[in-house]
Amino acid sequence: MRIYVTSVYVDDQDKALSFYTGKLGFEVKADVPVGEHRWLTVVSPADPDGCELLLEPDAHPAAKPFKAALVDDGVPLTSFYVDDVEAEYERLRGLGVRFTQEPLRMGDVTTAVLDDTCGNLIQILHKPGLVKQ
């Protein structure tokens, strides 16, 4: 069994597409109409055949209170690997991205937390050797 897709629940798929590609730098992998929404996934250009991120509508009534409760406590929904947290932080801040946690070094792990504008907080993380280049 393999993990081929994982989800973030977004309040607006168009807005999400713009943020996850335009700001974070992911690329569209699948964009297929399904009912009133789309099966819309993005991948990292550094790993185009890797795990896809599904920009999934938060249409289920339980999704919105769940997301709001996480944001209230500052808890990120998921975490993305970066080579350099400080550099990404500066780059994304320059693009107007809002962070709820500035880069924080904890041992050999460095993290920061940003707002995806679609109702989620996302962690970026670096740990030497975590991801094979």
């Binding site: 944001v71 500052g74 709820t100 924080l104 904890m106 937390v113």
Partner: protein, 96 residues
Amino acid sequence: MGESAAEGEVFKALADPTRRVILDELAERDGQTLFEICSRLTMRHGLGLSRQAVSQHLEVLARAGLVTGRREGRYKFHHIDTTPLDRLTDRWRREN
């Protein structure tokens, strides 16, 4: 001169080592989400407390006036306030 109820809350809040670590971390960077405080306690201090437990520590610190919560849109940040410490030990000091 005796001790006020408010001062009692400050001493109670400071008596716990975990709460002092929370203050250390907020003194290093003021204005943290609950998640950041939990991360710091776990990753830097090996204190694997539940989010609920950390929340309760923050409530004790808030009752003592040592931590204040600030809401900014959908986010909530916790700030350190050292004002209650300013005159806390005056009653034991000799006036010059």
